[in-house]
Amino acid sequence: MTDPATMQTILAIVPKLRAFAISLSGNVDRADDLVQETLMRAIANIDSFEPGTNMQAWLFTILRNRFRSEYRKRRREVEDADGHYTESLIAQPEQTSKLEYKELRVALDKLPSDQREALILVGASGFSYEEAAAICGCAVGTIKSRVNRARTRLANELDVKSAEDFGPDRNTRAVIAANERR
């Protein structure tokens, strides 16, 4: 049995876990599955959480590792088929973003996954570089350079391709998908 205060802490972090998962995967259904797997794993391994340390960082680490291993697995599978995996992995039709975030979402999905996760952790989740480094299991300097590269690439992408056309069907689906979850 888990201590009720711990359960409340975990519950309070769920919205942030979802935001992280959706930002990483760009897909609400996949994101919620990731959150579910994360919670199951966290409760099963709650004894390995050190009281007094950052629960949010611990849960984010679990989710991040789940996402990475799933990503690697799926990449291998799709690579075997045709060698072009990026689009089929990330640009799923059911985007969560509203129209106003469409360009950002598309640009975000084009980033290498390690840059994307670093940017989201630091730029959206509000983790320090040190915390983000601990979550990703790499050096602080590596996180800094990934975040910088991600920002530069996004800036270039959004600047150059802001007028790029994406069909209305896709946009409409995205809005519907987002609204259905409310």
Partner: protein, 66 residues
């Protein structure tokens, strides 16, 4: 990982325009993220946590945790 070397190709633009774009990206990123956070906890996860906790021992109600 090849991503680090690929990323080197993108050079930052100089001047205020780049800074403006950066500020806008940062703000958009956070508001996209916060919009999901503001949706709160979907019922499915409240149920899941109850079930997971119950599976470990005596189920806990919300009152017990204040």
């Amino acid at each position: 990982m090849t991503s680090e070397t690929l990323a080197g190709a993108a050079k930052p633009k100089s001047g205020g325009l780049d800074r403006q774009i950066q500020a806008k990206i940062g703000q958009q990123l956070r508001s996209m993220y916060d919009e999901v956070v503001d949706q709160g906890v979907p019922d499915r996860f409240v149920e899941l946590l109850k079930k997971l906790d119950g599976a470990q021992g005596a189920p806990k109600t919300e009152e017990e945790s204040r």
